[in-house]
Protein backbone atom coordinates (compact mmCIF):
# COMPACT_ATOMS: atom_id res chain seq x y z
CA UNK A 1 0.00 0.00 0.00
CA UNK A 2 1.29 3.40 -0.87
CA UNK A 3 1.92 5.70 2.03
CA UNK A 4 -0.22 8.80 1.78
CA UNK A 5 0.78 10.28 5.08
CA UNK A 6 4.40 11.17 5.50
CA UNK A 7 5.73 9.66 8.72
CA UNK A 8 6.11 11.93 11.75
CA UNK A 9 9.89 11.77 11.36
CA UNK A 10 9.66 12.86 7.74
CA UNK A 11 7.16 15.60 8.59
CA UNK A 12 9.49 16.94 11.26
CA UNK A 13 12.44 16.87 8.84
CA UNK A 14 10.43 18.77 6.21
CA UNK A 15 9.54 21.44 8.75
CA UNK A 16 13.14 21.73 9.99
CA UNK A 17 14.55 22.06 6.48
CA UNK A 18 12.04 24.73 5.46
CA UNK A 19 12.78 26.66 8.65
CA UNK A 20 16.40 26.83 7.50
CA UNK A 21 15.48 27.87 3.96
CA UNK A 22 15.90 24.41 2.37
CA UNK A 23 13.56 21.70 1.12
CA UNK A 24 13.59 17.91 1.24
CA UNK A 25 13.93 17.53 -2.53
CA UNK A 26 16.70 20.11 -2.74
CA UNK A 27 14.62 22.93 -4.19
CA UNK A 28 14.90 26.54 -3.10
CA UNK A 29 11.83 28.17 -1.51
CA UNK A 30 10.71 29.75 -4.78
CA UNK A 31 11.57 26.88 -7.15
CA UNK A 32 8.91 24.88 -8.97
CA UNK A 33 9.30 21.19 -9.65
CA UNK A 34 9.98 20.17 -13.24
CA UNK A 35 7.00 20.89 -15.49
CA UNK A 36 6.13 18.87 -18.58
CA UNK A 37 3.34 19.93 -20.89
CA UNK A 38 1.70 18.16 -23.81
CA UNK A 39 -1.22 19.50 -25.81
CA UNK A 40 -3.86 17.85 -27.96
CA UNK A 41 -3.69 14.23 -26.87
CA UNK A 42 -7.44 13.62 -26.83
CA UNK A 43 -8.70 13.74 -30.42
CA UNK A 44 -12.37 13.52 -29.44
CA UNK A 45 -12.11 16.70 -27.39
CA UNK A 46 -12.10 20.15 -28.96
CA UNK A 47 -9.02 20.87 -26.89
CA UNK A 48 -6.85 19.05 -24.38
CA UNK A 49 -3.59 19.24 -22.49
CA UNK A 50 -1.71 17.28 -19.87
CA UNK A 51 0.59 18.88 -17.35
CA UNK A 52 3.00 17.01 -15.11
CA UNK A 53 4.32 19.05 -12.20
CA UNK A 54 6.81 16.75 -10.52
CA UNK A 55 4.72 13.64 -10.02
CA UNK A 56 1.40 15.49 -10.00
CA UNK A 57 -0.45 14.93 -13.22
CA UNK A 58 -3.57 16.62 -14.56
CA UNK A 59 -5.35 16.11 -17.87
CA UNK A 60 -7.79 18.78 -19.04
CA UNK A 61 -10.29 18.23 -21.82
CA UNK A 62 -12.36 20.99 -23.41
CA UNK A 63 -15.71 20.26 -25.02
CA UNK A 64 -17.90 22.82 -26.75
CA UNK A 65 -21.64 22.40 -27.08
CA UNK A 66 -24.60 24.59 -27.87
CA UNK A 67 -26.62 25.75 -24.89
CA UNK A 68 -28.48 28.63 -23.28
CA UNK A 69 -26.80 31.76 -21.95
CA UNK A 70 -27.17 32.91 -18.35
CA UNK A 71 -30.06 35.32 -17.85
CA UNK A 72 -27.78 38.18 -16.80
CA UNK A 73 -25.34 37.72 -19.69
CA UNK A 74 -27.49 37.15 -22.81
CA UNK A 75 -24.66 38.29 -25.10
CA UNK A 76 -21.99 35.92 -23.87
CA UNK A 77 -21.14 32.27 -24.21
CA UNK A 78 -20.84 30.18 -21.07
CA UNK A 79 -17.73 28.90 -19.31
CA UNK A 80 -18.10 25.86 -17.05
CA UNK A 81 -15.18 24.41 -15.11
CA UNK A 82 -15.49 21.07 -13.38
CA UNK A 83 -12.83 19.06 -11.54
CA UNK A 84 -12.73 15.34 -10.89
CA UNK A 85 -10.41 13.91 -8.27
CA UNK A 86 -10.31 10.55 -9.99
CA UNK A 87 -9.99 7.63 -7.51
CA UNK A 88 -7.02 6.17 -9.38
CA UNK A 89 -5.03 9.32 -8.60
CA UNK A 90 -4.70 8.85 -4.85
CA UNK A 91 -5.76 6.42 -2.11
CA UNK A 92 -7.49 9.39 -0.47
CA UNK A 93 -9.78 10.06 -3.45
CA UNK A 94 -13.10 8.26 -3.37
CA UNK A 95 -15.76 7.78 -6.03
CA UNK A 96 -18.95 9.78 -5.62
CA UNK A 97 -20.23 13.31 -6.06
CA UNK A 98 -17.60 16.10 -6.00
CA UNK A 99 -16.42 16.90 -2.49
CA UNK A 100 -15.40 20.34 -1.24
CA UNK A 101 -11.80 19.87 -2.39
CA UNK A 102 -12.73 19.20 -6.00
CA UNK A 103 -15.30 22.01 -5.94
CA UNK A 104 -12.71 24.43 -4.59
CA UNK A 105 -10.16 23.30 -7.19
CA UNK A 106 -12.65 23.82 -10.04
CA UNK A 107 -13.80 27.18 -8.74
CA UNK A 108 -10.29 28.58 -8.27
CA UNK A 109 -9.29 27.50 -11.81
CA UNK A 110 -12.58 28.96 -13.08
CA UNK A 111 -12.01 32.29 -11.32
CA UNK A 112 -8.60 32.80 -12.92
CA UNK A 113 -9.96 32.18 -16.43
CA UNK A 114 -13.21 34.11 -15.89
CA UNK A 115 -11.85 37.19 -14.15
CA UNK A 116 -8.99 37.68 -16.60
CA UNK A 117 -11.54 37.31 -19.44
CA UNK A 118 -9.27 34.73 -21.01
CA UNK A 119 -11.97 33.48 -23.39
CA UNK A 120 -13.72 35.97 -25.68
CA UNK A 121 -17.15 34.73 -24.58
CA UNK A 122 -18.96 37.42 -26.60
CA UNK A 123 -17.71 35.69 -29.76
CA UNK A 124 -19.60 32.53 -28.81
CA UNK A 125 -23.14 33.83 -29.29
CA UNK A 126 -25.40 32.25 -31.91
CA UNK A 127 -28.62 34.04 -31.00
CA UNK A 128 -28.49 36.61 -28.16
CA UNK A 129 -30.42 35.47 -25.08
CA UNK A 130 -31.35 32.17 -26.71
CA UNK A 131 -28.47 30.18 -28.04
CA UNK A 132 -24.75 30.36 -27.25
CA UNK A 133 -21.83 27.98 -27.06
CA UNK A 134 -20.87 26.48 -23.72
CA UNK A 135 -17.19 25.81 -23.11
CA UNK A 136 -16.83 22.84 -20.76
CA UNK A 137 -13.41 22.68 -19.12
CA UNK A 138 -13.06 19.32 -17.38
CA UNK A 139 -10.09 19.01 -15.06
CA UNK A 140 -9.13 15.38 -14.57
CA UNK A 141 -6.59 14.72 -11.83
CA UNK A 142 -4.63 11.59 -12.72
CA UNK A 143 -1.97 11.61 -10.02
CA UNK A 144 -1.89 13.63 -6.81
CA UNK A 145 1.51 14.69 -5.54
CA UNK A 146 0.59 18.15 -4.29
CA UNK A 147 -0.20 21.58 -5.75
CA UNK A 148 -3.12 20.46 -7.88
CA UNK A 149 -4.31 24.05 -8.30
CA UNK A 150 -1.27 25.28 -10.24
CA UNK A 151 -1.07 22.04 -12.24
CA UNK A 152 -4.75 22.27 -13.16
CA UNK A 153 -4.68 25.99 -13.99
CA UNK A 154 -1.72 25.49 -16.29
CA UNK A 155 -3.31 22.47 -17.97
CA UNK A 156 -6.61 24.34 -18.37
CA UNK A 157 -4.91 27.29 -20.04
CA UNK A 158 -2.92 25.01 -22.34
CA UNK A 159 -6.07 23.06 -23.23
CA UNK A 160 -8.01 26.24 -24.02
CA UNK A 161 -5.18 27.47 -26.24
CA UNK A 162 -5.26 24.10 -27.96
CA UNK A 163 -9.03 24.25 -28.48
CA UNK A 164 -10.39 24.25 -32.01
CA UNK A 165 -13.82 25.71 -32.59
CA UNK A 166 -15.76 23.96 -35.35
CA UNK A 167 -17.21 26.02 -38.18
CA UNK A 168 -20.98 26.20 -38.30
CA UNK A 169 -23.93 27.87 -39.96
CA UNK A 170 -27.40 28.56 -38.59
CA UNK A 171 -30.30 27.16 -40.62
CA UNK A 172 -33.84 27.72 -39.33
CA UNK A 173 -32.54 28.27 -35.82
CA UNK A 174 -30.52 25.04 -35.87
CA UNK A 175 -26.74 24.89 -35.74
CA UNK A 176 -25.25 22.93 -38.63
CA UNK A 177 -21.61 21.97 -38.26
CA UNK A 178 -19.49 22.64 -41.33
CA UNK A 179 -16.07 21.23 -42.11
CA UNK A 180 -13.03 23.10 -40.85
CA UNK A 181 -11.93 24.64 -37.58
CA UNK A 182 -10.66 27.88 -36.16
CA UNK A 183 -8.96 28.44 -32.81
CA UNK A 184 -11.08 29.33 -29.78
CA UNK A 185 -10.65 33.11 -29.25
CA UNK A 186 -8.23 33.46 -26.31
CA UNK A 187 -7.33 36.95 -25.10
CA UNK A 188 -5.59 36.45 -21.79
CA UNK A 189 -3.24 33.97 -20.15
CA UNK A 190 -3.89 33.52 -16.44
CA UNK A 191 -1.63 31.21 -14.44
CA UNK A 192 -1.88 30.25 -10.77
CA UNK A 193 0.97 30.46 -8.27
CA UNK A 194 0.45 28.63 -4.98
CA UNK A 195 2.34 29.25 -1.74
CA UNK A 196 2.56 27.13 1.38
CA UNK A 197 3.20 28.77 4.73
CA UNK A 198 5.38 27.24 7.42
CA UNK A 199 5.53 29.62 10.41
CA UNK A 200 7.46 32.63 9.08
CA UNK A 201 8.48 30.97 5.80
CA UNK A 202 6.78 30.82 2.42
CA UNK A 203 7.53 28.34 -0.36
CA UNK A 204 5.96 27.93 -3.80
CA UNK A 205 4.65 24.72 -5.36
CA UNK A 206 4.25 22.57 -2.24
CA UNK A 207 4.58 18.82 -2.82
CA UNK A 208 2.11 16.42 -1.22
CA UNK A 209 4.37 15.76 1.79
CA UNK A 210 4.83 19.50 2.29
CA UNK A 211 1.08 20.06 2.04
CA UNK A 212 0.67 17.70 5.00
CA UNK A 213 2.97 19.84 7.14
CA UNK A 214 2.06 23.36 5.96
CA UNK A 215 0.01 25.74 8.12
CA UNK A 216 -1.96 27.21 5.23
CA UNK A 217 -2.03 27.66 1.47
CA UNK A 218 -2.38 30.75 -0.69
CA UNK A 219 -3.04 30.82 -4.43
CA UNK A 220 -2.71 33.91 -6.61
CA UNK A 221 -3.73 33.85 -10.26
CA UNK A 222 -1.86 36.40 -12.37
CA UNK A 223 -2.87 37.54 -15.86
CA UNK A 224 -0.70 38.61 -18.80
CA UNK A 225 -0.30 42.27 -17.72
CA UNK A 226 0.86 41.30 -14.21
CA UNK A 227 -2.48 42.01 -12.61
CA UNK A 228 -3.72 39.63 -9.95
CA UNK A 229 -7.05 38.21 -11.10
CA UNK A 230 -7.92 35.68 -8.40
CA UNK A 231 -6.83 34.87 -4.86
CA UNK A 232 -7.72 31.97 -2.60
CA UNK A 233 -6.47 31.16 0.87
CA UNK A 234 -6.93 27.55 1.97
CA UNK A 235 -6.06 25.39 4.94
CA UNK A 236 -6.63 25.66 8.67
CA UNK A 237 -3.85 28.12 9.44
CA UNK A 238 -3.32 31.80 8.73
CA UNK A 239 -1.02 34.27 6.98
CA UNK A 240 0.33 37.55 8.30
CA UNK A 241 -0.42 40.74 6.38
CA UNK A 242 3.28 41.05 5.46
CA UNK A 243 3.31 37.52 4.02
CA UNK A 244 0.32 38.29 1.80
CA UNK A 245 1.98 41.37 0.34
CA UNK A 246 5.25 39.48 -0.15
CA UNK A 247 3.40 36.64 -1.89
CA UNK A 248 1.66 39.04 -4.27
CA UNK A 249 5.07 40.26 -5.47
CA UNK A 250 6.59 36.80 -5.82
CA UNK A 251 3.47 35.49 -7.59
CA UNK A 252 3.97 38.03 -10.38
CA UNK A 253 7.56 36.93 -10.95
CA UNK A 254 6.76 33.21 -10.91
CA UNK A 255 3.74 33.72 -13.18
CA UNK A 256 6.00 35.06 -15.93
CA UNK A 257 8.08 31.86 -15.75
CA UNK A 258 5.05 29.58 -15.81
CA UNK A 259 3.33 31.44 -18.64
CA UNK A 260 6.39 31.01 -20.86
CA UNK A 261 5.78 27.25 -20.81
CA UNK A 262 2.36 27.68 -22.43
CA UNK A 263 2.55 30.91 -24.39
CA UNK A 264 5.37 30.89 -26.89
CA UNK A 265 5.79 34.31 -28.45
Amino acid sequence: MSSVMASKVRQKRIAQLIASGKRLDGRGPYDYREIKLESGLIERAEGSARVRLGKSEVLVGVKIEAGEPFLDTPNEGVLTVNAELVPLASPTFEPGPPDENSIELARVVDRGIRESKAIALEDLVVEPGKKVFVVFVDVYVLNHDGNLIDTSALAALAALMNTKMFNYEVKEGEIKIKPGYKPLPIRNYPVAVTFAKFNDKLVVDPGLDEEQVMDARLTMAVEKDDKICAVQKGGDGYFTAQQILEASKTAREKAVELRKLVVKE
Partner: protein, 260 residues
Protein backbone atom coordinates in the same frame (compact mmCIF):
# COMPACT_ATOMS: atom_id res chain seq x y z
CA UNK B 1 -32.88 41.41 -12.64
CA UNK B 2 -30.18 44.01 -13.28
CA UNK B 3 -32.46 46.95 -13.97
CA UNK B 4 -30.02 49.78 -13.25
CA UNK B 5 -27.07 48.60 -15.25
CA UNK B 6 -26.56 51.93 -16.99
CA UNK B 7 -26.80 53.99 -13.80
CA UNK B 8 -23.49 54.94 -12.26
CA UNK B 9 -22.63 53.35 -8.93
CA UNK B 10 -20.33 56.18 -7.83
CA UNK B 11 -20.92 59.85 -8.79
CA UNK B 12 -18.35 62.58 -9.55
CA UNK B 13 -18.19 63.52 -5.86
CA UNK B 14 -17.21 59.96 -4.89
CA UNK B 15 -20.62 59.30 -3.36
CA UNK B 16 -21.89 55.74 -3.77
CA UNK B 17 -25.41 54.77 -4.87
CA UNK B 18 -26.54 54.32 -1.26
CA UNK B 19 -24.97 57.64 -0.18
CA UNK B 20 -21.82 56.16 1.36
CA UNK B 21 -18.30 57.51 1.03
CA UNK B 22 -15.68 55.29 -0.64
CA UNK B 23 -14.20 54.05 2.64
CA UNK B 24 -17.47 53.88 4.54
CA UNK B 25 -19.01 50.70 5.82
CA UNK B 26 -22.72 49.95 5.60
CA UNK B 27 -24.72 50.34 8.85
CA UNK B 28 -24.20 47.27 11.00
CA UNK B 29 -26.42 45.87 13.70
CA UNK B 30 -25.31 42.82 15.69
CA UNK B 31 -27.15 40.80 18.29
CA UNK B 32 -25.63 37.95 20.29
CA UNK B 33 -27.36 34.96 21.88
CA UNK B 34 -30.87 35.14 20.48
CA UNK B 35 -31.56 31.47 19.72
CA UNK B 36 -32.55 29.42 22.76
CA UNK B 37 -31.71 25.94 21.47
CA UNK B 38 -28.23 26.66 20.14
CA UNK B 39 -25.21 26.66 22.45
CA UNK B 40 -24.26 29.99 20.92
CA UNK B 41 -25.80 32.27 18.32
CA UNK B 42 -25.52 35.67 16.69
CA UNK B 43 -27.44 37.74 14.17
CA UNK B 44 -25.98 40.41 11.92
CA UNK B 45 -27.51 43.02 9.67
CA UNK B 46 -25.02 44.69 7.38
CA UNK B 47 -26.82 46.88 4.89
CA UNK B 48 -29.61 44.67 3.60
CA UNK B 49 -27.77 41.49 4.62
CA UNK B 50 -29.60 39.56 7.32
CA UNK B 51 -27.67 36.56 8.58
CA UNK B 52 -28.09 34.15 11.48
CA UNK B 53 -25.27 32.02 12.87
CA UNK B 54 -25.61 29.23 15.42
CA UNK B 55 -23.16 26.90 17.13
CA UNK B 56 -23.90 23.46 18.51
CA UNK B 57 -21.16 21.77 20.46
CA UNK B 58 -18.66 20.60 21.34
CA UNK B 59 -20.90 17.56 21.13
CA UNK B 60 -20.75 13.91 20.17
CA UNK B 61 -19.78 13.50 16.54
CA UNK B 62 -21.88 11.68 13.96
CA UNK B 63 -20.90 9.88 11.78
CA UNK B 64 -18.27 8.58 14.20
CA UNK B 65 -15.56 8.09 11.58
CA UNK B 66 -15.31 11.87 11.24
CA UNK B 67 -13.92 12.09 14.77
CA UNK B 68 -10.38 13.48 15.04
CA UNK B 69 -8.16 11.88 17.68
CA UNK B 70 -6.36 15.07 18.70
CA UNK B 71 -8.95 17.83 18.32
CA UNK B 72 -12.57 18.72 17.74
CA UNK B 73 -13.82 18.64 14.17
CA UNK B 74 -15.16 22.04 13.18
CA UNK B 75 -17.96 21.61 10.66
CA UNK B 76 -19.47 24.56 8.90
CA UNK B 77 -22.54 24.93 6.71
CA UNK B 78 -23.10 28.19 4.88
CA UNK B 79 -26.56 28.21 3.37
CA UNK B 80 -28.78 30.73 1.63
CA UNK B 81 -32.53 30.76 2.09
CA UNK B 82 -34.45 30.36 -1.21
CA UNK B 83 -36.04 33.79 -0.65
CA UNK B 84 -32.78 35.55 0.20
CA UNK B 85 -32.07 36.66 -3.36
CA UNK B 86 -33.99 38.21 -6.28
CA UNK B 87 -34.48 34.97 -8.22
CA UNK B 88 -35.45 32.07 -5.97
CA UNK B 89 -32.43 29.97 -5.10
CA UNK B 90 -32.85 26.22 -4.95
CA UNK B 91 -32.44 25.14 -1.33
CA UNK B 92 -30.02 22.38 -2.35
CA UNK B 93 -26.43 23.42 -1.56
CA UNK B 94 -24.79 24.96 -4.64
CA UNK B 95 -21.11 24.64 -5.51
CA UNK B 96 -20.65 28.21 -4.35
CA UNK B 97 -22.18 27.42 -0.97
CA UNK B 98 -19.98 24.36 -0.60
CA UNK B 99 -16.86 26.35 -1.36
CA UNK B 100 -17.89 29.11 1.04
CA UNK B 101 -18.62 26.54 3.77
CA UNK B 102 -15.05 25.32 3.35
CA UNK B 103 -13.30 28.70 3.37
CA UNK B 104 -15.43 29.95 6.27
CA UNK B 105 -14.51 26.87 8.31
CA UNK B 106 -10.86 27.50 7.50
CA UNK B 107 -11.28 31.15 8.46
CA UNK B 108 -12.61 30.27 11.93
CA UNK B 109 -10.57 27.15 12.72
CA UNK B 110 -7.38 29.07 13.64
CA UNK B 111 -9.30 31.04 16.28
CA UNK B 112 -10.56 28.01 18.23
CA UNK B 113 -8.69 25.83 20.74
CA UNK B 114 -10.07 22.70 19.04
CA UNK B 115 -7.39 20.63 20.81
CA UNK B 116 -9.34 21.02 24.07
CA UNK B 117 -12.15 18.79 22.78
CA UNK B 118 -10.75 15.78 20.92
CA UNK B 119 -13.19 13.37 19.22
CA UNK B 120 -16.08 15.87 19.32
CA UNK B 121 -17.84 18.04 16.75
CA UNK B 122 -18.35 21.77 16.80
CA UNK B 123 -21.13 22.43 14.32
CA UNK B 124 -21.56 25.86 12.88
CA UNK B 125 -24.61 26.85 10.86
CA UNK B 126 -24.80 30.10 8.93
CA UNK B 127 -28.14 30.92 7.35
CA UNK B 128 -28.37 33.85 4.99
CA UNK B 129 -31.95 35.13 5.30
CA UNK B 130 -31.37 38.06 2.96
CA UNK B 131 -28.32 38.61 0.80
CA UNK B 132 -26.87 41.95 -0.29
CA UNK B 133 -23.24 41.26 -1.14
CA UNK B 134 -20.51 40.40 1.33
CA UNK B 135 -22.44 37.56 2.96
CA UNK B 136 -19.41 35.38 3.60
CA UNK B 137 -17.73 38.17 5.57
CA UNK B 138 -20.85 39.08 7.54
CA UNK B 139 -21.38 35.35 8.09
CA UNK B 140 -17.89 34.93 9.54
CA UNK B 141 -18.34 38.01 11.75
CA UNK B 142 -21.57 36.54 13.15
CA UNK B 143 -20.20 32.98 13.37
CA UNK B 144 -17.21 34.09 15.43
CA UNK B 145 -19.57 35.78 17.89
CA UNK B 146 -21.75 32.66 18.03
CA UNK B 147 -18.64 30.63 18.93
CA UNK B 148 -17.78 33.11 21.67
CA UNK B 149 -21.40 33.04 22.86
CA UNK B 150 -21.19 29.24 23.08
CA UNK B 151 -18.31 29.69 25.52
CA UNK B 152 -15.83 27.88 23.29
CA UNK B 153 -12.22 28.82 24.20
CA UNK B 154 -10.86 31.10 21.49
CA UNK B 155 -7.58 32.80 20.70
CA UNK B 156 -9.29 35.86 19.25
CA UNK B 157 -12.45 36.99 17.52
CA UNK B 158 -12.42 36.67 13.74
CA UNK B 159 -13.57 39.85 12.01
CA UNK B 160 -14.30 39.89 8.30
CA UNK B 161 -14.86 42.60 5.72
CA UNK B 162 -14.44 43.01 1.98
CA UNK B 163 -12.93 45.80 -0.06
CA UNK B 164 -12.63 46.11 -3.80
CA UNK B 165 -12.73 48.18 -6.93
CA UNK B 166 -15.89 49.67 -8.41
CA UNK B 167 -15.84 51.81 -11.54
CA UNK B 168 -12.10 52.31 -11.13
CA UNK B 169 -12.30 53.47 -7.52
CA UNK B 170 -11.27 51.53 -4.42
CA UNK B 171 -14.12 51.03 -1.98
CA UNK B 172 -14.84 49.37 1.35
CA UNK B 173 -17.67 46.86 1.98
CA UNK B 174 -19.22 46.31 -1.48
CA UNK B 175 -22.97 45.85 -1.67
CA UNK B 176 -24.67 43.51 -4.14
CA UNK B 177 -24.83 46.00 -7.04
CA UNK B 178 -21.19 46.98 -6.58
CA UNK B 179 -20.15 43.34 -6.24
CA UNK B 180 -21.83 42.46 -9.53
CA UNK B 181 -20.23 45.38 -11.36
CA UNK B 182 -17.14 44.78 -13.43
CA UNK B 183 -14.47 45.48 -10.80
CA UNK B 184 -12.80 43.50 -8.08
CA UNK B 185 -13.88 42.12 -4.73
CA UNK B 186 -11.55 40.98 -1.95
CA UNK B 187 -13.14 39.36 1.12
CA UNK B 188 -10.78 39.16 4.08
CA UNK B 189 -10.98 37.70 7.59
CA UNK B 190 -8.62 38.76 10.33
CA UNK B 191 -7.69 38.06 13.94
CA UNK B 192 -6.49 41.51 15.09
CA UNK B 193 -4.56 40.37 18.18
CA UNK B 194 -2.60 37.83 16.15
CA UNK B 195 -2.18 39.87 12.96
CA UNK B 196 -3.48 36.72 11.29
CA UNK B 197 -5.26 36.64 7.93
CA UNK B 198 -7.51 33.60 8.09
CA UNK B 199 -9.50 34.14 4.90
CA UNK B 200 -8.44 35.86 1.72
CA UNK B 201 -10.10 35.60 -1.63
CA UNK B 202 -10.24 37.91 -4.60
CA UNK B 203 -11.84 38.09 -7.98
CA UNK B 204 -11.47 40.82 -10.53
CA UNK B 205 -8.27 42.43 -11.73
CA UNK B 206 -5.95 44.52 -9.58
CA UNK B 207 -2.54 45.99 -10.29
CA UNK B 208 0.25 45.65 -7.74
CA UNK B 209 -0.49 49.04 -6.12
CA UNK B 210 -4.25 48.46 -6.16
CA UNK B 211 -3.82 45.06 -4.55
CA UNK B 212 -1.87 46.51 -1.62
CA UNK B 213 -4.36 49.39 -1.21
CA UNK B 214 -7.46 47.19 -1.35
CA UNK B 215 -5.84 44.74 1.06
CA UNK B 216 -5.10 47.49 3.58
CA UNK B 217 -8.59 48.97 3.15
CA UNK B 218 -10.18 45.59 3.92
CA UNK B 219 -7.85 45.20 6.92
CA UNK B 220 -9.02 48.55 8.32
CA UNK B 221 -12.61 47.44 7.75
CA UNK B 222 -11.96 44.28 9.77
CA UNK B 223 -10.63 46.39 12.65
CA UNK B 224 -13.82 48.48 12.66
CA UNK B 225 -15.92 45.31 12.61
CA UNK B 226 -13.89 43.98 15.53
CA UNK B 227 -14.95 46.95 17.68
CA UNK B 228 -18.61 46.35 16.83
CA UNK B 229 -18.23 42.66 17.66
CA UNK B 230 -16.77 43.45 21.08
CA UNK B 231 -19.58 45.92 21.81
CA UNK B 232 -22.20 43.33 20.84
CA UNK B 233 -20.62 40.70 23.08
CA UNK B 234 -20.35 43.15 25.97
CA UNK B 235 -24.02 44.09 25.55
CA UNK B 236 -24.98 40.44 25.80
CA UNK B 237 -23.00 39.97 29.01
CA UNK B 238 -24.37 43.14 30.58
CA UNK B 239 -27.86 41.87 29.82
CA UNK B 240 -27.07 38.49 31.39
CA UNK B 241 -25.56 40.19 34.45
CA UNK B 242 -28.59 42.43 34.91
CA UNK B 243 -30.91 39.48 34.62
CA UNK B 244 -28.90 37.53 37.20
CA UNK B 245 -28.90 40.49 39.59
CA UNK B 246 -32.63 40.91 39.20
CA UNK B 247 -33.14 37.25 40.00
CA UNK B 248 -30.88 37.56 43.02
CA UNK B 249 -32.85 40.56 44.26
CA UNK B 250 -36.07 38.70 43.70
CA UNK B 251 -34.78 35.76 45.72
CA UNK B 252 -33.55 38.01 48.52
CA UNK B 253 -36.91 39.74 48.68
CA UNK B 254 -38.84 36.50 48.81
CA UNK B 255 -36.51 35.28 51.57
CA UNK B 256 -37.19 38.47 53.57
CA UNK B 257 -40.88 38.01 53.06
CA UNK B 258 -40.55 34.48 54.34
CA UNK B 259 -38.81 35.68 57.51
CA UNK B 260 -41.58 38.13 58.26
Amino acid sequence: MSQKKTEKLIDEKDVRSDGRKLNEMRPINIEVGLLSNADGSAYIEQGKNKILAAVYGPREIHPKHQALPDRAALRCRYHMAPFSVQERKSPAPSRREQELSKVMREALEPSIFTEYYPRTAIDLFVEVLQADGGTRCAGITAASLALADAGIPMRDLVSACAAGKVEGRLVLDLDDLEDKSDGADMPLAYMPNYNAITLLQMDGMLTSEEFDQVFNLALEGCKQINQLQKEALRKKYVAVKEEAEKEEEGEAESEEEGEE
